[in-house]
Protein backbone atom coordinates (compact mmCIF):
# COMPACT_ATOMS: atom_id res chain seq x y z
CA UNK A 1 0.00 0.00 0.00
CA UNK A 2 1.49 3.36 -0.98
CA UNK A 3 2.35 5.88 1.69
CA UNK A 4 -0.17 8.61 2.14
CA UNK A 5 0.00 11.85 3.95
CA UNK A 6 -3.06 12.33 5.99
CA UNK A 7 -4.39 15.65 4.70
CA UNK A 8 -5.61 16.57 8.13
CA UNK A 9 -2.10 16.84 9.51
CA UNK A 10 -0.62 18.95 6.77
CA UNK A 11 -2.18 22.30 7.62
CA UNK A 12 -0.72 22.05 11.06
CA UNK A 13 2.74 21.72 9.65
CA UNK A 14 2.10 24.26 7.00
CA UNK A 15 1.12 26.88 9.50
CA UNK A 16 4.23 26.35 11.46
CA UNK A 17 6.81 26.06 8.75
CA UNK A 18 5.44 27.23 5.48
CA UNK A 19 8.82 27.95 3.91
CA UNK A 20 10.24 24.51 4.47
CA UNK A 21 7.13 22.86 3.25
CA UNK A 22 7.17 24.86 0.06
CA UNK A 23 10.72 23.86 -0.44
CA UNK A 24 9.88 20.23 0.15
CA UNK A 25 7.02 20.47 -2.27
CA UNK A 26 9.31 21.89 -4.91
CA UNK A 27 11.80 19.14 -4.31
CA UNK A 28 9.16 16.52 -4.62
CA UNK A 29 7.95 18.06 -7.87
CA UNK A 30 11.41 18.06 -9.34
CA UNK A 31 11.87 14.37 -8.67
CA UNK A 32 10.82 11.67 -10.98
CA UNK A 33 7.34 11.00 -9.93
CA UNK A 34 7.02 7.51 -8.73
CA UNK A 35 3.91 5.62 -7.97
CA UNK A 36 4.62 6.14 -4.27
CA UNK A 37 4.86 9.84 -4.45
CA UNK A 38 1.95 10.57 -6.63
CA UNK A 39 -0.70 10.37 -3.91
CA UNK A 40 1.52 12.35 -1.63
CA UNK A 41 1.81 15.14 -4.11
CA UNK A 42 -1.89 15.15 -4.52
CA UNK A 43 -2.24 15.46 -0.76
CA UNK A 44 0.09 18.42 -0.66
CA UNK A 45 -1.97 20.21 -3.26
CA UNK A 46 -5.03 19.42 -1.28
CA UNK A 47 -3.30 20.78 1.80
CA UNK A 48 -2.49 24.10 0.19
CA UNK A 49 -6.09 24.39 -0.82
CA UNK A 50 -7.08 23.91 2.80
CA UNK A 51 -4.84 26.72 3.98
CA UNK A 52 -7.55 29.32 3.94
CA UNK A 53 -9.90 27.11 5.95
CA UNK A 54 -7.23 26.45 8.59
CA UNK A 55 -6.67 30.07 9.25
CA UNK A 56 -10.30 30.56 10.01
CA UNK A 57 -10.81 27.31 11.90
CA UNK A 58 -10.10 27.41 15.62
CA UNK A 59 -9.73 24.03 17.32
CA UNK A 60 -10.85 23.23 20.77
CA UNK A 61 -8.18 21.32 22.71
CA UNK A 62 -10.29 18.21 22.52
CA UNK A 63 -10.65 18.49 18.78
CA UNK A 64 -6.95 18.94 18.45
CA UNK A 65 -6.02 16.00 20.61
CA UNK A 66 -8.65 13.94 18.88
CA UNK A 67 -7.05 14.82 15.59
CA UNK A 68 -3.60 13.87 16.87
CA UNK A 69 -5.03 10.65 18.15
CA UNK A 70 -6.61 9.82 14.81
CA UNK A 71 -3.34 10.56 13.12
CA UNK A 72 -1.41 8.29 15.40
CA UNK A 73 -4.01 5.57 15.25
CA UNK A 74 -3.88 5.55 11.51
CA UNK A 75 -0.13 5.01 11.41
CA UNK A 76 0.29 1.27 11.40
CA UNK A 77 3.96 1.52 12.29
CA UNK A 78 2.98 2.91 15.64
CA UNK A 79 1.06 -0.27 16.48
CA UNK A 80 2.28 -3.70 17.48
CA UNK A 81 5.77 -2.34 17.62
CA UNK A 82 8.89 -3.29 19.46
CA UNK A 83 10.97 -0.51 20.96
CA UNK A 84 14.13 -0.69 23.01
CA UNK A 85 15.40 1.63 25.68
CA UNK A 86 16.25 2.04 29.32
CA UNK A 87 13.69 2.02 32.12
CA UNK A 88 13.43 4.89 34.51
CA UNK A 89 10.85 6.41 36.83
CA UNK A 90 9.27 3.02 37.33
CA UNK A 91 6.11 3.39 39.41
CA UNK A 92 4.19 0.36 40.60
CA UNK A 93 0.77 1.84 41.14
CA UNK A 94 -1.60 0.47 43.76
CA UNK A 95 -4.06 -0.34 41.01
CA UNK A 96 -1.60 -2.88 39.62
CA UNK A 97 -0.83 -0.73 36.62
CA UNK A 98 2.77 0.21 36.07
CA UNK A 99 4.10 3.42 34.66
CA UNK A 100 7.60 4.15 33.54
CA UNK A 101 9.70 6.14 31.17
CA UNK A 102 11.61 4.53 28.34
CA UNK A 103 14.64 6.49 27.37
CA UNK A 104 17.84 6.58 25.44
CA UNK A 105 20.61 9.12 25.29
CA UNK A 106 18.53 11.91 23.76
CA UNK A 107 14.84 11.15 24.16
CA UNK A 108 12.29 9.71 26.45
CA UNK A 109 8.76 8.42 26.18
CA UNK A 110 6.13 7.74 28.83
CA UNK A 111 4.88 4.19 28.98
CA UNK A 112 2.03 2.44 30.72
CA UNK A 113 1.75 -1.25 31.42
CA UNK A 114 -1.76 -2.13 32.50
CA UNK A 115 -2.41 -4.76 35.09
CA UNK A 116 -3.76 -7.50 32.86
CA UNK A 117 -0.55 -7.44 30.78
CA UNK A 118 1.73 -6.91 33.74
CA UNK A 119 0.77 -10.07 35.63
CA UNK A 120 2.61 -12.32 33.20
CA UNK A 121 5.79 -10.30 33.35
CA UNK A 122 8.00 -12.72 35.32
CA UNK A 123 10.49 -10.09 36.52
CA UNK A 124 10.56 -6.89 38.54
CA UNK A 125 10.81 -3.63 36.63
CA UNK A 126 13.74 -1.56 37.84
CA UNK A 127 15.21 1.77 36.91
CA UNK A 128 18.20 1.38 34.68
CA UNK A 129 17.14 -1.90 33.11
CA UNK A 130 17.57 -2.19 29.40
CA UNK A 131 14.34 -3.55 27.95
CA UNK A 132 12.47 -4.17 24.76
CA UNK A 133 8.80 -3.35 24.93
CA UNK A 134 5.93 -4.35 22.70
CA UNK A 135 2.83 -2.20 22.34
CA UNK A 136 1.10 0.73 20.67
CA UNK A 137 1.67 4.46 20.65
CA UNK A 138 -1.41 6.25 21.85
CA UNK A 139 -2.50 9.65 22.98
CA UNK A 140 -3.73 9.92 26.52
CA UNK A 141 -6.18 12.66 25.94
CA UNK A 142 -6.73 13.96 29.51
CA UNK A 143 -3.12 15.03 29.52
CA UNK A 144 -2.47 15.36 25.82
CA UNK A 145 0.35 12.98 26.28
CA UNK A 146 1.75 10.65 23.71
CA UNK A 147 2.53 7.37 25.38
CA UNK A 148 3.45 3.83 24.64
CA UNK A 149 0.84 1.42 25.94
CA UNK A 150 2.88 -1.66 26.60
CA UNK A 151 1.60 -5.20 26.27
CA UNK A 152 4.84 -7.05 26.70
CA UNK A 153 8.34 -6.47 27.99
CA UNK A 154 11.50 -8.47 27.73
CA UNK A 155 14.88 -7.71 29.20
CA UNK A 156 17.45 -6.48 26.76
CA UNK A 157 21.04 -7.43 27.33
CA UNK A 158 23.18 -5.40 29.67
CA UNK A 159 22.58 -2.33 31.70
CA UNK A 160 21.10 0.80 30.29
CA UNK A 161 23.40 3.25 28.61
CA UNK A 162 23.21 5.65 31.52
CA UNK A 163 24.13 2.92 33.93
CA UNK A 164 26.98 1.89 31.70
CA UNK A 165 28.21 5.47 31.75
CA UNK A 166 27.77 5.55 35.48
CA UNK A 167 29.85 2.39 35.85
CA UNK A 168 32.56 3.88 33.66
CA UNK A 169 32.63 7.06 35.74
CA UNK A 170 32.67 5.04 38.94
CA UNK A 171 35.67 3.06 37.74
CA UNK A 172 37.48 6.19 36.61
CA UNK A 173 36.98 7.97 39.92
CA UNK A 174 37.86 4.85 41.88
CA UNK A 175 41.08 4.56 39.89
CA UNK A 176 41.88 8.17 40.76
CA UNK A 177 41.43 7.33 44.42
CA UNK A 178 38.34 9.43 45.08
CA UNK A 179 36.65 6.56 46.91
CA UNK A 180 39.71 5.42 48.88
CA UNK A 181 38.93 4.49 52.46
CA UNK A 182 42.26 5.96 53.61
CA UNK A 183 41.29 9.46 52.58
CA UNK A 184 37.98 9.42 54.42
CA UNK A 185 38.15 12.02 57.15
CA UNK A 186 36.61 11.51 60.54
CA UNK A 187 33.86 13.85 61.63
CA UNK A 188 34.49 16.53 64.26
CA UNK A 189 32.86 15.58 67.55
CA UNK A 190 31.59 19.04 68.36
CA UNK A 191 31.25 21.04 65.15
CA UNK A 192 30.51 24.72 65.57
CA UNK A 193 29.66 25.39 61.94
CA UNK A 194 27.52 22.97 59.96
CA UNK A 195 27.17 23.47 56.23
CA UNK A 196 24.10 22.04 54.53
CA UNK A 197 23.85 21.60 50.79
CA UNK A 198 20.27 20.90 49.82
CA UNK A 199 17.14 22.42 48.42
CA UNK A 200 15.85 25.15 50.75
CA UNK A 201 12.31 23.94 50.08
CA UNK A 202 12.89 20.24 50.63
CA UNK A 203 11.75 18.04 53.49
CA UNK A 204 15.37 16.93 53.86
CA UNK A 205 16.38 20.34 55.22
CA UNK A 206 13.59 20.30 57.78
CA UNK A 207 14.54 16.76 58.85
CA UNK A 208 18.14 17.82 59.35
CA UNK A 209 17.26 20.99 61.26
CA UNK A 210 14.89 19.15 63.57
CA UNK A 211 17.61 16.70 64.55
CA UNK A 212 20.34 19.28 65.00
CA UNK A 213 17.70 20.84 67.22
CA UNK A 214 19.13 22.53 70.23
CA UNK A 215 22.77 21.80 69.52
CA UNK A 216 24.46 25.18 69.55
CA UNK A 217 26.06 25.43 66.14
CA UNK A 218 25.89 27.88 63.32
CA UNK A 219 24.06 26.38 60.40
CA UNK A 220 25.09 27.58 57.00
CA UNK A 221 22.64 26.67 54.29
CA UNK A 222 24.11 26.51 50.83
CA UNK A 223 21.01 26.15 48.65
CA UNK A 224 21.18 23.89 45.63
CA UNK A 225 18.91 22.71 42.92
CA UNK A 226 18.87 18.99 43.69
CA UNK A 227 17.17 17.63 40.61
CA UNK A 228 16.64 18.35 36.97
CA UNK A 229 18.89 19.98 34.40
CA UNK A 230 21.54 22.11 36.03
CA UNK A 231 21.41 20.18 39.30
CA UNK A 232 25.01 18.90 39.07
CA UNK A 233 26.36 22.41 38.50
CA UNK A 234 24.18 23.82 41.25
CA UNK A 235 25.16 21.12 43.77
CA UNK A 236 28.87 21.39 43.08
CA UNK A 237 28.75 25.17 43.29
CA UNK A 238 26.88 24.95 46.60
CA UNK A 239 29.53 22.57 47.99
CA UNK A 240 32.35 24.84 46.80
CA UNK A 241 30.66 27.88 48.35
CA UNK A 242 31.08 26.32 51.78
CA UNK A 243 34.87 26.32 51.40
CA UNK A 244 36.37 27.56 54.65
CA UNK A 245 32.98 28.19 56.20
CA UNK A 246 32.03 24.91 57.82
CA UNK A 247 33.48 22.24 60.13
CA UNK A 248 31.30 19.58 58.60
CA UNK A 249 29.11 19.54 55.49
CA UNK A 250 25.89 17.62 54.95
CA UNK A 251 24.89 17.05 51.32
CA UNK A 252 21.37 15.73 51.25
CA UNK A 253 18.07 15.38 49.50
CA UNK A 254 14.95 13.37 50.19
CA UNK A 255 13.85 10.26 48.39
CA UNK A 256 13.00 10.25 44.73
CA UNK A 257 13.31 8.19 41.61
CA UNK A 258 16.72 7.25 40.29
CA UNK A 259 16.00 9.97 37.76
CA UNK A 260 15.51 12.57 40.48
CA UNK A 261 18.74 11.60 42.22
CA UNK A 262 20.76 11.48 39.04
CA UNK A 263 22.36 14.87 39.60
CA UNK A 264 24.36 13.33 42.44
CA UNK A 265 25.96 10.88 40.02
CA UNK A 266 27.71 13.62 38.13
CA UNK A 267 31.47 13.90 38.00
CA UNK A 268 31.59 17.58 38.95
CA UNK A 269 29.55 16.83 42.09
CA UNK A 270 31.96 14.04 43.00
CA UNK A 271 34.95 16.32 42.51
CA UNK A 272 33.42 19.17 44.50
CA UNK A 273 32.80 16.80 47.42
CA UNK A 274 36.30 15.37 47.06
CA UNK A 275 37.85 18.83 47.18
CA UNK A 276 35.71 20.09 50.03
CA UNK A 277 37.96 21.22 52.89
CA UNK A 278 35.76 19.80 55.63
CA UNK A 279 34.40 16.27 56.06
CA UNK A 280 31.26 15.60 54.04
CA UNK A 281 28.29 13.47 55.09
CA UNK A 282 26.07 12.42 52.21
CA UNK A 283 22.44 11.42 52.53
CA UNK A 284 20.83 11.15 49.14
CA UNK A 285 17.44 9.57 48.76
CA UNK A 286 16.64 6.48 50.73
CA UNK A 287 18.95 3.88 52.15
CA UNK A 288 18.88 1.77 48.99
CA UNK A 289 19.83 4.66 46.71
CA UNK A 290 23.57 4.94 46.37
CA UNK A 291 24.98 7.67 44.19
CA UNK A 292 28.53 8.58 43.25
CA UNK A 293 28.31 11.44 45.76
CA UNK A 294 27.81 8.78 48.45
CA UNK A 295 30.95 6.98 47.35
CA UNK A 296 33.09 10.12 47.54
CA UNK A 297 31.66 11.47 50.77
CA UNK A 298 33.64 10.87 53.95
CA UNK A 299 30.60 9.31 55.57
CA UNK A 300 27.43 8.06 53.94
CA UNK A 301 24.21 8.33 55.90
CA UNK A 302 21.13 6.34 54.92
CA UNK A 303 18.83 9.35 55.29
CA UNK A 304 19.09 13.10 55.92
CA UNK A 305 17.87 12.48 59.48
CA UNK A 306 20.67 9.99 60.07
CA UNK A 307 23.17 12.44 58.55
CA UNK A 308 22.16 15.08 61.08
CA UNK A 309 22.48 12.55 63.91
CA UNK A 310 26.01 11.79 62.77
CA UNK A 311 26.94 15.46 62.48
CA UNK A 312 26.15 16.57 66.02
CA UNK A 313 26.32 14.96 69.43
CA UNK A 314 23.12 14.33 71.33
CA UNK A 315 22.47 17.39 73.47
CA UNK A 316 21.00 15.44 76.41
CA UNK A 317 24.01 13.14 76.36
CA UNK A 318 26.34 16.09 76.23
CA UNK A 319 24.63 17.66 79.24
CA UNK A 320 24.94 14.52 81.30
CA UNK A 321 28.56 14.25 80.18
CA UNK A 322 29.18 17.74 81.52
CA UNK A 323 27.52 16.82 84.83
CA UNK A 324 29.74 13.79 85.05
CA UNK A 325 32.85 15.83 84.33
CA UNK A 326 31.90 18.30 87.03
CA UNK A 327 31.35 15.61 89.65
CA UNK A 328 34.61 13.93 88.71
CA UNK A 329 36.46 17.18 89.17
CA UNK A 330 34.84 17.84 92.54
CA UNK A 331 35.56 14.30 93.68
CA UNK A 332 39.18 14.35 92.65
CA UNK A 333 39.74 17.74 94.24
CA UNK A 334 38.20 16.49 97.48
CA UNK A 335 40.20 13.31 97.49
CA UNK A 336 43.36 15.26 96.85
CA UNK A 337 42.50 17.56 99.77
CA UNK A 338 41.78 14.56 101.96
CA UNK A 339 45.07 12.96 101.07
CA UNK A 340 46.93 16.11 101.97
CA UNK A 341 45.06 16.44 105.23
CA UNK A 342 45.82 12.85 106.16
CA UNK A 343 49.47 13.43 105.55
CA UNK A 344 49.42 16.54 107.65
CA UNK A 345 47.77 14.68 110.49
CA UNK A 346 50.31 11.93 110.29
CA UNK A 347 53.16 14.39 110.46
CA UNK A 348 51.50 16.16 113.36
CA UNK A 349 51.24 12.89 115.26
CA UNK A 350 54.91 12.16 114.72
CA UNK A 351 55.79 15.46 116.31
CA UNK A 352 53.77 15.00 119.54
CA UNK A 353 55.53 15.05 123.02
CA UNK A 354 54.37 11.61 124.02
CA UNK A 355 55.87 10.15 120.98
CA UNK A 356 59.10 11.91 121.76
CA UNK A 357 59.19 10.40 125.34
CA UNK A 358 58.40 7.02 124.02
CA UNK A 359 61.24 7.35 121.63
CA UNK A 360 63.56 8.43 124.44
CA UNK A 361 62.62 5.43 126.62
CA UNK A 362 63.25 3.21 123.70
CA UNK A 363 66.69 4.64 123.27
CA UNK A 364 67.45 4.22 126.95
CA UNK A 365 66.47 0.60 126.98
CA UNK A 366 68.59 0.00 123.98
CA UNK A 367 71.53 1.56 125.77
CA UNK A 368 71.02 -0.76 128.80
CA UNK A 369 70.87 -3.73 126.55
CA UNK A 370 74.09 -2.74 124.94
CA UNK A 371 75.83 -2.24 128.32
CA UNK A 372 74.74 -5.66 129.45
CA UNK A 373 75.98 -7.22 126.30
CA UNK A 374 79.30 -5.52 126.76
CA UNK A 375 79.65 -6.81 130.30
CA UNK A 376 78.83 -10.40 129.52
CA UNK A 377 81.16 -10.33 126.59
CA UNK A 378 83.95 -9.13 128.86
CA UNK A 379 83.21 -11.88 131.35
CA UNK A 380 83.34 -14.54 128.77
CA UNK A 381 86.61 -13.25 127.55
CA UNK A 382 88.15 -13.40 131.15
CA UNK A 383 86.94 -16.95 131.64
CA UNK A 384 88.64 -18.00 128.48
CA UNK A 385 91.89 -16.47 129.65
CA UNK A 386 91.65 -18.19 133.04
CA UNK A 387 91.19 -21.54 131.40
CA UNK A 388 94.14 -20.95 129.22
CA UNK A 389 96.23 -20.11 132.28
CA UNK A 390 95.27 -23.36 134.12
CA UNK A 391 96.14 -25.33 131.05
CA UNK A 392 99.55 -23.67 130.90
CA UNK A 393 100.12 -24.42 134.60
CA UNK A 394 99.46 -28.11 134.20
CA UNK A 395 101.88 -28.17 131.30
CA UNK A 396 104.51 -26.65 133.50
CA UNK A 397 103.99 -29.31 136.24
CA UNK A 398 104.86 -32.12 133.90
CA UNK A 399 108.35 -30.74 133.27
CA UNK A 400 109.03 -29.76 136.93
CA UNK A 401 111.76 -31.77 138.90
CA UNK A 402 109.33 -32.06 141.77
CA UNK A 403 107.43 -34.70 139.81
CA UNK A 404 110.66 -36.64 139.31
CA UNK A 405 111.32 -36.59 143.08
CA UNK A 406 108.00 -38.26 143.70
CA UNK A 407 109.25 -41.15 141.60
CA UNK A 408 112.11 -41.79 144.12
CA UNK A 409 114.79 -39.41 142.97
CA UNK A 410 116.34 -36.81 145.27
CA UNK A 411 118.38 -33.66 144.80
CA UNK A 412 121.53 -33.11 146.68
CA UNK A 413 122.53 -29.55 147.61
CA UNK A 414 125.37 -28.06 149.57
CA UNK A 415 124.40 -26.10 152.64
CA UNK A 416 124.94 -22.89 150.62
CA UNK A 417 122.30 -24.17 148.13
CA UNK A 418 124.60 -25.21 145.23
CA UNK A 419 123.50 -28.42 143.47
CA UNK A 420 125.89 -31.28 143.94
CA UNK A 421 126.32 -32.73 140.48
CA UNK A 422 129.56 -34.69 141.01
CA UNK A 423 131.16 -36.76 143.81
CA UNK A 424 134.14 -34.43 143.45
CA UNK A 425 131.99 -31.63 144.83
CA UNK A 426 131.95 -33.17 148.39
CA UNK A 427 134.37 -34.64 150.76
CA UNK A 428 133.68 -37.08 153.60
CA UNK A 429 132.49 -35.26 156.62
CA UNK A 430 130.68 -32.59 154.60
CA UNK A 431 127.08 -31.94 155.38
CA UNK A 432 124.68 -32.19 152.38
CA UNK A 433 121.04 -31.49 152.05
CA UNK A 434 118.84 -34.07 150.26
CA UNK A 435 115.62 -32.83 148.90
CA UNK A 436 112.91 -35.51 148.62
CA UNK A 437 109.40 -35.17 147.31
CA UNK A 438 107.87 -34.58 150.72
CA UNK A 439 110.70 -33.02 152.71
CA UNK A 440 114.46 -32.47 153.25
CA UNK A 441 117.16 -34.55 154.96
CA UNK A 442 120.32 -33.10 156.47
CA UNK A 443 123.02 -35.79 155.97
CA UNK A 444 126.75 -36.22 156.70
CA UNK A 445 129.02 -37.84 154.06
CA UNK A 446 130.71 -40.88 155.61
CA UNK A 447 132.75 -42.21 152.73
CA UNK A 448 133.39 -41.39 149.11
CA UNK A 449 133.57 -44.20 146.60
CA UNK A 450 134.80 -43.59 143.07
CA UNK A 451 133.08 -45.29 140.23
Amino acid sequence: MPRTIDPSIIPLCYNRKPASLVKETRQIRSQTISIHFRPALRDVKYATRLKRNTLTQIFTVSELTERIKERLDSDLRLHDLWARGELSNVVNHRSGHRYFTLKDKDSQLSCALFRNYGVRLGFELKDGQNVQVFGDVEVYRPRGQVQLVVRGIRLDSGLGFRHQELERLKQKLAAEGLFDAERKRSLPRYPSRIGIVTSPDGAALRDVLSIIGSYPARIILSPAQVQGDGAPESISLAVKSLQGRADVVIVCRGGGSAEDLWGFNHEIVARAIFECDSPVISAIGHETDITIADFVADVRAPTPTAAAEMAVPDVAELKSHLDLVESRMVRSLWSSLERKQERLEYLQRSLSARRMYAQLAEHRQRLDDLAEHLESAQRTRLDILKNKLALAESGLDSVSPLATLSRGYSIARSPDGRLILSAEDVAPGNVVELILADGKLKCKVLEKMQK
Binding site: S192, P216, P223, L322, V325, R328, S332
Partner: protein
Protein backbone atom coordinates in the same frame (compact mmCIF):
# COMPACT_ATOMS: atom_id res chain seq x y z
CA UNK B 1 32.68 23.93 72.40
CA UNK B 2 35.06 21.40 70.99
CA UNK B 3 38.09 23.14 72.55
CA UNK B 4 36.31 23.63 75.86
CA UNK B 5 35.41 19.95 76.06
CA UNK B 6 38.90 18.86 75.13
CA UNK B 7 40.35 21.21 77.78
CA UNK B 8 37.92 19.77 80.29
CA UNK B 9 38.99 16.23 79.58
CA UNK B 10 42.63 17.15 80.15
CA UNK B 11 41.83 18.99 83.34
CA UNK B 12 39.91 16.03 84.73
CA UNK B 13 42.71 13.66 83.79
CA UNK B 14 45.33 15.83 85.53
CA UNK B 15 43.17 16.27 88.60
CA UNK B 16 42.51 12.55 88.84
CA UNK B 17 46.19 11.82 88.43
CA UNK B 18 46.64 13.47 91.83
CA UNK B 19 50.24 14.56 91.34
CA UNK B 20 49.48 18.24 91.56
CA UNK B 21 50.19 20.63 94.36
CA UNK B 22 47.20 22.00 96.20
CA UNK B 23 47.54 25.38 94.54
CA UNK B 24 47.79 23.84 91.07
CA UNK B 25 44.80 21.60 91.59
CA UNK B 26 42.71 24.48 92.92
CA UNK B 27 43.58 26.60 89.89
CA UNK B 28 42.76 23.73 87.54
CA UNK B 29 39.54 22.94 89.37
CA UNK B 30 38.40 26.52 89.11
CA UNK B 31 39.16 26.58 85.39
CA UNK B 32 37.36 23.27 84.91
CA UNK B 33 34.24 24.40 86.68
CA UNK B 34 34.23 27.61 84.66
CA UNK B 35 34.40 25.54 81.45
CA UNK B 36 31.57 23.27 82.59
CA UNK B 37 29.41 26.30 83.34
CA UNK B 38 30.28 27.84 80.00
CA UNK B 39 29.38 24.71 78.03
CA UNK B 40 26.20 24.15 79.99
CA UNK B 41 25.16 27.75 79.46
CA UNK B 42 25.76 27.39 75.74
CA UNK B 43 23.66 24.25 75.64
CA UNK B 44 20.89 25.81 77.69
CA UNK B 45 20.65 28.94 75.63
CA UNK B 46 21.18 27.17 72.34
CA UNK B 47 19.42 28.96 69.60
CA UNK B 48 19.97 27.66 66.13
CA UNK B 49 21.46 30.30 63.99
CA UNK B 50 20.71 29.57 60.39
CA UNK B 51 22.31 31.54 57.66
CA UNK B 52 21.96 31.06 53.96
CA UNK B 53 24.78 31.72 51.55
CA UNK B 54 22.27 33.19 49.13
CA UNK B 55 20.64 35.18 51.87
CA UNK B 56 17.31 33.56 51.08
CA UNK B 57 15.69 31.32 53.62
CA UNK B 58 12.25 29.77 53.36
CA UNK B 59 9.86 31.70 55.59
CA UNK B 60 9.06 28.82 57.91
CA UNK B 61 12.61 28.13 59.08
Amino acid sequence: MEEALEDLEQIVARLEDGKLSLEESLVLFERGIRLVRLCSARLESAEQRIESLTGELPGDL
